[in-house]
Amino acid sequence: MASPPTPSLPPQSAVTIKFDDVWIGFDEGPILRGLTFSAQPGETLVLLGETGTGKTLALKIAAGLICPDRGTVQALGQDITGKSEEELLQFRRQIGFVFQEGALFDSLTVGENVAYRLVEDGADENRIAPQVREVLRFVELEHTADMLPSELSGGMRRRVSIARALVNRPPVVLYDSPTAGLDPITSQTIITLILRLRDIYRVTALMATHRLQDGFALANFHFDPKTRTVRRGPSEERTQPPITRFLVLREGHIYFEGRPEELLKSRDSYLQRFLI
């Protein structure tokens, strides 16, 4: 087995999410074995890896949905590993989570799904409707507000899921394989949406995927709010590189961590398998 390239960790200060030696396992043995990484504010981390390497687990741990067996996780300045479920419920209101299959509430309409968090927070009804409309307009699904999730296509459901996750403008959004099982055109629509979310709202994002092209699309393109178009290259307004980094998971730990160009240049045989 080739030795893993040395990860280039960002400075310890000003991190939004930090995993420190996180372990978790189930009956079949440990899945994550000492996972360590951190994300700076506004940064997009692309978690790459084969199926079963623990990408989704890492996201669920970051959101406090699963408690690790060992190690600490800090998110938004809080150590979430020692928190009770009651405290975690409050914490999760600052996190947007986009599930792999959308996980929309199938008995609620699209509008009710998107409004769910606002209703739970006891927001004023007069404020909810315009906010839901605005978010649905952002994902270009305003016309579906009264439809049930079962009436939508797979791609539309993912977009509604994104709308639901960002309705209260969370500073962190976690995407679990947002383009899995979608055709290339719909995948592109979803990635464009993630680009817009990143470049307009400046959210910190963790995206688990096994599609390398999604990560490169995030790294090589930006959304220009003035012209409302997606353009190649980094945003002119962005001065703090890197904004997109790749983390390759293998056997429960970080095998590679670095910028897209570093991944492209790598001659490591395992990483090469993602590039073919």
Binding site: L65, R92, R93, F97, A103, F105, Y116
Partner: protein, 279 residues
């Protein structure tokens, strides 16, 4: 480990260790105790959540509509015919001794103390415990429960407590209706089959009842409501293994809640008779 794209990783050569019989039995016992513990925790939290905020009033009303109003037709039908068949079965025996007028007493006591709560409990368990398990189970396998947690909502408060509260309110009401309709069924059968006067039937049916009989029936219906709702919720929330798991949980919910209701009925009857003697 494979280092080129199309190689297949070699599987381990060492065979897995076969566990001993003692280990298997110990694991099974531990799993059973763990399940009882999980069920007890879920049940306790479903009740304690009712006393703290946030509460979900609209969800409780929706569940009351589903469990209460939805179960009304089967409870009405079964109640009426159980009352009638009780009269037909007991009346023929009483005729042999010329004591037909006792029919009202027997039917009334049997319905209020035993048949009303138990039959209603079993019917609602068959209809609603399975429904709760399949609904919650589907939500678990489609990650809707995780999504709820990710959105900052406690699924225990939002999904379980409203169902438990709705059952605790509606099952005693359904039992009362079932008993009343059963007495009507008994009266109809008495009039047409035994030629017993309707007034005599009602007078005796009401006169025989004591406060302890009503309390016995009411207590049983409350306990059965708690069992059928919590078992349904527990089976639903513990679903593993996709749609097959949902199907398994649905069946388990009906089987476990029905058996628990019958077992609980035995102990409650013994307790009620003991208390009736003491008080």
């Amino acid at each position: 480990m494979a280092d080129t794209p199309f190689q297949v990783p070699q599987s381990g050569s060492s065979a897995p260790e076969t566990p001993s019989v003692a280990e298997v039995l110990t694991d099974a016992a531990k799993q059973s105790v763990l399940k009882v513990q999980d069920y007890a925790k879920l049940s306790a939290r479903s009740v304690s959540n009712l006393f703290t905020r946030p509460r979900y009033g609209q969800d409780t009303l929706d569940q009351m509509d589903d469990i209460g109003v939805g179960s009304l037709p089967i409870v009405l039908l079964s109640g009426f015919f159980i009352g009638a068949v009780m009269v037909l079965q007991t009346g023929s025996q009483f005729q042999r001794f010329g004591q037909v007028s006792l029919t009202g007493d027997i039917v009334s006591l049997a319905l209020v103390r035993e048949l009303g709560p138990t039959i209603t409990g079993l019917l609602v368990a068959g209809r609603c415990s399975s429904g709760i398990a399949s609904e919650l189970g589907s939500m678990v396998v489609t990650e809707q429960v995780d999504a709820m947690r990710a959105l900052g909502t406690d699924p225990g408060r939002k999904l379980i407590s409203p169902r438990v509260l709705a059952s605790l309110i509606t099952v005693p009401l359904l039992t009362t209706i079932s008993v009343f309709v059963g007495l009507i069924g008994g009266m109809v059968a008495s009039v047409f089959s035994l030629r017993l006067g309707a007034t005599t039937f009602w007078q005796r049916a009401i006169a025989i009842l004591e406060f302890s009989d009503l309390m016995q029936g009411f207590t049983k219906s409350l306990v059965f409501a708690f069992i059928l709702s919590t078992v349904g919720c527990y089976q639903g929330m513990k679903v593993r293994g996709g749609t097959q798991g949902v199907g398994r949980a649905t069946t388990q919910a009906v089987v476990v809640s029905s058996v628990m209701i019958i077992i609980a009925d035995t102990f409650l009857t013994k307790l009620a008779l003991y208390l009736a003697d003491k008080l």
